[in-house]
């Protein structure tokens, strides 16, 4: 592991740099736009409020929180300090809950839904892709059109179709939510079962969406690998088919891992929209309700958390890549 220090070091520095940039963008973009964010917040709060001193207090609270009356650079440091203390202010639409509180309850739903779904979809897609490349003929003929169809369907389209078929039509699964609407989260079996049942449709819609694109990519990578000399040689030696598939899989997988690192952001954000279709209590639904409620602090915090999620995921995949790519291993031992 010692030899990896340099590789991990560069990756980590890169991670920190991107995080700082994402952080700055998250801070600066809304402030570049016309209009005072604090005024917008107070306008939302003060709708129908008759208590002038109350409105004034809200205005002051948020002016202090964002420090909008101070120079930009000072505002930035106030923002940094607040964020690192986990203080994103109060949510407007869900007052008196704090933004941190809202996010705390929704982020786990998103993480537990999306990362397993993306990984499972990626694995199934890649396996199918290798098989399609190796078996060709019938399997390929059936799989490819399906994959092309799947990869062209937007994530929310897949979600709606699954919802209509399996929840509304066949009534096998509930239509919305993360658990039964008549339940209070606890550790009883009935609650866990309810969570599992509600999990299925959002999970499979994300899995299915990801299978298509991965299968197509993996198929062409594998076809390329299958024409390589080592495969011909292995066949010549009479090595068993499944073993050759294993070799091809390992070689063709490397670019797919890189691909995963590059596209995980797109995958996660696409799946957010699928969450909305199922009213799954994750970040997607949080964004929707924040947008509908004009909840400025919540949106800004959610985008920050999302960026962080994507950055960490990318970082982890790159670390993983370091371990599985023999070329990097070789380069490190020099």
């Amino acid at each position: 592991l010692k030899g990896y220090t340099k590789y991990f070091g560069t990756k980590f520095i890169w991670f920190v740099i991107t995080f700082i940039c994402a952080f700055i963008l998250n801070f600066i973009l809304p402030r570049l736009m016309p209009g005072d964010p604090v005024a917008a917040i107070v306008a939302r709060f003060a709708q129908g409020a008759t208590n002038a001193t109350g409105v004034q207090a809200i205005y002051q609270r948020y002016t202090e929180l964002f420090g909008t009356n101070r120079p930009m650079i000072e505002q930035f440091f106030i923002y940094v300090r607040n964020v690192f203390q986990g203080d994103f202010g109060y949510s407007i639409a869900q007052y008196p809950r704090t933004v941190a509180d809202v996010l705390k309850s929704s982020i786990w739903w998103t993480m537990c839904l999306q990362f397993p779904a993306i990984i499972v979809g990626w694995m199934i897609g890649n396996t199918l892709g290798v098989l399609a490349a190796y078996l060709r003929k019938g399997f390929d003929r059936v799989l490819m059109p399906i994959s092309i169809f799947l990869s062209n369907l937007p994530a929310f389209g897949m979600a709606v179709i699954l919802l209509v078929v399996f929840a509304v039509g066949l009534k096998w699964f509930p239509t919305s939510g993360g658990y039964g609407y008549d339940m209070i989260p606890n550790f009883s079996w009935s609650f866990i079962w309810s969570v599992i049942v509600h999990y299925q449709l959002p999970f499979w819609s994300i899995v299915l969406i990801n299978i298509g694109g991965q299968a197509i990519g993996m198929r062409s990578m594998s076809i390329y690998e299958l024409n390589a000399d080592y495969v011909k040689y292995a066949r010549f030696l009479g090595i068993k088919d499944w073993k050759i598939i294993g070799y091809v899989f390992r070689n063709a997988m490397l670019p797919q891992v890189t691909g995963l690192a590059l596209s995980i952001g797109t995958m996660i954000t696409g799946a957010l929209v699928a969450e909305i279709i199922f009213s799954y209590p994750g970040l997607g639904t949080t964004i929707l309700s924040a947008v509908l409620g004009g909840d400025y602090p919540l949106i800004s915090a959610t985008t920050l958390i999302l960026s962080l999620m994507v950055l960490v995921a990318t970082f982890l995949i790159e670390i993983l890549y370091g371990f599985i790519d023999p070329r990097i291993k070789a380069a490190q031992s020099d």
Binding site: F156, T266, I277, S307, V310
Partner: protein, 417 residues
């Protein structure tokens, strides 16, 4: 060039994709010429009218000529429409509950079933375990069954203004028909109406047009930015390359969609027109093009003809235009096609989050989806409000991807099968 085009149009994949795309484009252009209703006109009271032909009841009663058709199955159809299989099963349930034995009930013998129903149904009766909703359902069913087997006509009466009493005007026999062409007010709603009571088909055609424009604007901007940055980074290299690559790597990891959410929300509801959204999408999705163009340019940079051009003292601009651009033109076209379809998808995703273009002026595919979802069309089973939208989006992206694959096979001989 001509040869290349010929080759492109001989690729079956490209042709299919091109055909689908052109058909949609033509529909978007031609449809408004024939059906001139404003796309966002609110037609109906109430939401989600099912697809079909709507005939004015008043006009058809009032129709000048009424025809008599003697159709054998008219009565059977009439009964079937009032008394479906579910209703029959529900009636059986009631009859069983009040103590009629099962072998006495014949679900297919309508006359007997109705007779049994009339004898045994009692709205006041309390059946143990029956919900209120179910009880109300039986009351409605009973009302709708009233007079189902009668062969008499319906009487049209008019209110006499002087006496205040109803006077019989005419009788409509069960065998009376009107010709739909003679009814002045008929409206065809092939896809019904949406949650606001607007004609879904007209709206969908308009929305497809707007979404294509959004995709085109976003795709063009993204491709232009990507192309310029890619050319600069690839050809000039050194510090410029480092700078641009830093930017590119940065925006590969920071998801464009998150930036899109942030920017769209910050712009505010008022300023968010369709074009604004398109521009914002364009400015957040150039990364892939820049990366790919750069890679291509680097592989071209040291070719002989480029070096020759350099030796001849041509300017960088000239070299890029005449010696590099033609080689990557095919790639750029493909990237543009892909960016257009990605732009349409991005708009749809953004609109579902509620961050789409301002809602009152133009529909877009994403907005239609957003409206359908907010009004829970998917749970209410109003498929016409969302399914055509999904199909349209899928078709657009499918046709563009097909065109792309076709082009890829023409330009990269290695991929030909």
């Amino acid at each position: 060039m001509k040869h290349l085009l010929q080759q492109v149009f001989r690729s079956p994949k490209f042709l299919v994709g091109f055909g689908i795309f052109m058909a949609m484009l033509l529909l978007v252009i031609i449809y408004p010429l024939f059906i001139t209703n404003p796309p966002l006109e609110i037609l109906s009271q109430g939401t989600f009218l099912p697809p079909g032909i709507y005939v004015s009841v008043y006009d058809s009663i009032d129709a000048s000529t009424r025809y008599t058709l003697l159709l054998d199955d008219a009565a059977a159809k009439r009964i079937a429409s009032k008394l479906g299989d579910d209703d029959r099963l529900a009636m059986q349930e009631w009859l069983l509950a009040v103590g009629v034995s099962e072998n006495e009930i014949d679900l297919q013998d309508t006359a007997k079933l109705l007779e049994q129903w009339e004898n045994h149904y009692d709205p006041a009766a309390k059946i143990p375990g029956m919900t209120n909703a179910k009880r109300n359902y039986y009351i409605r069913l009973d009302v709708s069954l009233d007079g189902l087997l009668s062969t008499e006509g319906a009487i049209i009466a008019k209110n006499n203004a002087q006496t205040g009493s109803l006077e019989q005007k005419e009788i409509i026999e069960q065998t009376d028909y009107v010709n739909i062409n003679q009814v002045p007010n008929v409206r065809v709603l092939p896809l019904g109406t949406d949650n606001f009571g607007r004609d879904v088909l007209t709206e969908l055609v308009k929305a497809t047009g707007v979404s294509l424009v959004i995709g085109f604007v976003a795709g063009t901007i993204a491709t232009l930015i990507g192309l310029i940055l890619g050319l600069l980074a690839g050809y000039i290299g050194d510090v410029v390359d480092d700078g641009i690559m830093f930017l590119t790597n940065l925006f590969t990891v920071i998801p464009g969609f998150v930036l899109l959410i942030l920017i769209s929300f910050s712009i505010g509801q008022e300023q968010r027109g369709a074009v604004t959204i398109a521009v914002v999408i364009g400015f957040t999705s150039w990364v892939w093009t820049a990366r790919a163009v750069r890679a291509q340019v680097i592989s071209l940079r040291n070719r002989d003809h480029v070096n020759l051009s350099k030796l001849s003292g041509h300017s960088i601009f000239h070299i890029i235009i005449t010696d590099i651009l033609p080689y990557i033109a095919s790639y750029v076209v493909m990237a543009l096609i892909l960016q257009i379809s990605l732009g349409i998808l991005a708009e749809a995703g953004l609109s579902i989050l509620g961050l789409g273009p301002k809602t009152t002026e133009v529909p877009t595919l994403g907005l239609m989806m957003n409206w359908a979802m907010i009004y829970q069309a998917q749970i209410l089973g109003k498929w016409w409000a969302y399914f055509p939208v999904i199909v349209t989006i899928a078709l657009i992206s499918f046709s563009m991807n097909l065109m792309n694959t076709g082009l890829d096979q023409v330009f990269n001989p290695a991929l030909r099968e």
